[in-house]
Amino acid sequence: MGIDRKMEQATRTMLGHAMRHELDDLATLMRTVGNEALLGSIPLCLFASAYIAVDTSERWPTDADIREIAKLAASQSATELDISEREIYEYLSRVALGSEKVDDVFSDEGVVTVPLYTTANLLLGFRPRDKHWWEYLDQIWDAAEVADRTSLTVLPALMLRARKESSHSDDSD
């Protein structure tokens, strides 16, 4: 997944506004960046939220995992964004981790706001304790670019490494 720097910058700024609940600034930015950047931010948000769901579940998220993530992101987020648990669940299960298109699942108003608000809530809530949200976002984009360049044949080796490292950390606990 090649990341366009212009799209990435616009997405990052929008996420920052959403996180701080600066909705007027967000609306102004959405008008100024133009349709192309706005639509370009959707796949970035899709990738980021799916990454966070997999990262926090430490496996391909099960339905129960997604429900729990949606519950936390809707009810315990400091952003106070207008997004429901149901919308987050639908977005994650059907679009971000599923195969449906965002405009097939949500109405026109939700096409940009649901991915953006969900990603903002997930970034803020599930970021690693030692990282700021923008550093976590950097990690996600780096991972996207590395994954894009890497052959899938590496996956078993990565799984083995992950397994080994997790068993080492279990032993040291």
């Binding site: 315990q76 400091a78 700021h132």
Partner: protein, 226 residues
């Protein structure tokens, strides 16, 4: 403790459906599955005579009980008597078929009233402890509201990292000095050149180190010094 695992004959999960299995042998009570000497479990019965001389004459209560057959007993003609009877006697076959059919219908009638079958009952069961584990695992990763508020207030980092800034200033200084010396505005002194060169080396090493870290990510040994 016996070296041989004792074979468990698991009864049907829901007792009332056991009547569907017409050919299931009688469940064997655990207490009788061990030989008298207590060293051999039921699966090894065929080998009873070969445990040594002491076990040569060991008897098995279940195997010897009249009308009872164990799953692992050596097979002989008597075991096939029901099948043989079914094959040879059309009336018995019809009666057995009708009896089985009746049992199936009774089961289906109960099932249709909403009584869950064993498989359905199993699917609906989610062990409460696993649900709790999942909840606590994800909730543990979710940041507290106070910490989230603090993070929201924190300004985003500058887009020009500090090491890059140092390098830019240092490189600009070297360029300006070089031009000044070339134009004769400043005199070329070796101590000034040495200080300038040292600054350039330090800033470039710092910059390159940062780039290297960005490229290779955080290693465990990097975190040790933080």
């Amino acid at each position: 403790m016996s070296p041989h695992p004792r074979r468990q004959v698991t009864p049907p999960e829901v007792g009332e459906y056991s009547d569907l299995n017409q050919f299931d042998p009688v469940p064997v009570p655990k207490v009788e599955t061990q030989c008298r000497h207590g060293t051999a479990a039921r699966p090894m019965r065929e080998l009873h005579g070969w445990h040594g001389d002491r076990h040569r004459d060991a008897r098995d209560a279940i195997a010897d009980a009249p009308g009872r057959h164990a799953r692992d007993a050596p097979k002989h003609a008597g075991h096939d008597s029901l099948k043989l009877r079914m094959l040879l006697d059309p009336e018995a076959r019809t009666a057995e078929h009708l009896r089985h059919r009746k049992a199936v219908e009774a089961y289906e009638a109960r099932h249709a009233t909403g009584h869950p079958g064993p498989q359905e009952a199993k699917q609906e069961q989610v062990p409460p402890e696993s649900r709790d584990t999942l909840t606590s695992r994800l909730a543990k990763k979710w940041d507290s509201p106070e910490s989230q508020q603090e993070e929201r207030r924190r300004p985003e980092r500058s887009w020009l990292p500090r090491a890059d800034m140092v390098k830019a200033v240092s490189d600009s200084g070297i360029l300006v000095t070089t031009i000044a010396v070339a134009l004769g505005v400043a005199s070329a002194r070796w101590d000034a050149v040495a200080v300038g060169a040292a600054t350039a080396v330090v800033s470039n090493v710092a910059w390159a180190n940062r780039r290297w870290k960005e490229k290779h990510g955080h290693r465990p040994e990097d975190g040790a010094g933080d």
